[in-house]
């Protein structure tokens, strides 16, 4: 009989940390646009989405800390781990690039998370059901917002089309990692806590496909897939990101408002 009690604490905590790290790191990246967006309206829209992501990361870290039972709170998990201990997908940590790159990355991640949260609305894990209930609405808006921009930039001016196509090419190697399976994803799937990542691929395609069609963009198959994030193996950009993210807590341990 599958159920939330058939999984080990370590495996559940590992799964929660992955999810939390994805949201924290992508939320941090998105927040870097604050004050730099191409227009004031986007200068509010991107930090809005960043705050959604960081809010989701917070509750996931809190829950991960409780499951793990090692006395680490959300701040310890978010700010006081080393690079190799973060298990976010590589797409999340990528540098922002231009606006087209940021919007496409947001669309990809949201199109991966929306069916994930939707499935977790009926998770065997009660806490995750609650988190999913809030997140599913937030992520639906992220798809809409990023998707509308992808359409307008893809089907826009010569320059915007060129930049959008470049983003499709640049991000292609990072899509495959989202749907990878390993012992952790198998364990949570068997316990009915979360879906198998591979099972989300058709729904990801069903979200991204029509947007690409409207944008006049062609899907690009990556010549290879970048992988390693789930095992703590990160790209060059990650260390710089963490340096900025962790600076306050490292310099002023326990700093509070």
């Amino acid at each position: 009989m599958a159920g939330a009690d058939t999984i080990s604490r370590e495996e559940l905590a590992a799964f929660l940390l992955r999810l939390a790290d994805d949201h924290l790191i992508l939320g941090h990246r998105l927040s870097e646009w604050c004050g730099h967006a191409p227009m004031l309206e986007e200068d509010l829209a991107m930090p809005n989405m960043a705050l959604d992501l960081i809010g989701q990361a917070r509750v996931l870290y809190q829950y991960a800390g409780a499951v793990e039972g090692r006395g680490r709170d959300e701040d310890a998990l978010a700010y006081l781990r080393r690079e190799r201990e973060y298990t976010n997908c590589l797409m999340a940590e990528r540098e922002n690039g231009d606006f087209a790159h940021t919007m496409l990355r947001q669309l990809y991640f949201a199109a991966f998370m929306e069916p994930m949260w939707e499935t977790m609305l009926s998770s065997t894990d009660e806490t995750l059901r609650g988190i999913a209930g809030k997140a599913v609405k937030e992520v639906a808006y992220h798809i809409r917002h990023a998707g509308e921009w992808v359409v307008r930039l893809g089907d826009g001016t010569e320059e915007s089309t060129r930049r959008m196509k470049a983003a499709v090419e640049a991000l292609a190697p990072y899509v495959g990692e989202l749907f990878e399976s390993d012992d952790v994803t198998k364990a949570v799937a068997e316990a009915g806590i979360a879906p198998k990542p591979a099972s989300l691929r058709s729904r990801f395609d069903a979200i991204v496909g029509p947007i690409f069609a409207e944008a006049g963009l062609e899907w690009v198959e990556a010549p290879f897939t970048q992988t390693g994030g789930r095992r703590g193996l990160h790209g060059e950009a990650m260390g710089f990101l963490l340096a900025e993210l962790q600076f306050m807590q490292r310099s002023y341990p326990g700093a509070a408002w």
Binding site: M39, L40, E41, E42, L44, A45, N48, Y141, R144, H145, E148, R152
Partner: protein
């Protein structure tokens, strides 16, 4: 409108069911879909609304401030238009 400038939209928000949409500001957006999103992101961050309207600013015809006196001053001397000269029986309560 100058070329290369993103159009301006006026934003109206309805705070609750039963109330009217109220003008709250403006946003720049390329089209009506993006204008609604921008309005949502700029003006409903603190739970201000349950419904949004956006209208191209160019679609609004405004009265000329120069005609302010002839438009509005004649009303100032007609206090009898305010319904404050009637005695309302106590039984009626709040109207």
């Amino acid at each position: 409108m100058p070329k290369n400038q993103i159009p301006l939209w006026e934003v109206f928000i309805r705070p609750r069911n039963g109330l009217a949409h109220k003008h709250c500001g403006s946003v720049h957006a390329a089209d009506e879909v993006m204008a609604l999103q921008a309005a949502r992101d700029v003006y409903t961050r603190r739970g201000e609304g349950t419904s949004i309207w956006v209208v191209p600013s160019s679609a609004i015809t405004a009265s000329d401030p120069e005609n302010k006196d002839e438009n509005f001053e004649p009303a100032l001397s007609k206090v009898y238009r305010h319904p404050t000269f009637y005695d309302i029986p106590d039984d009626v309560g709040h109207m």
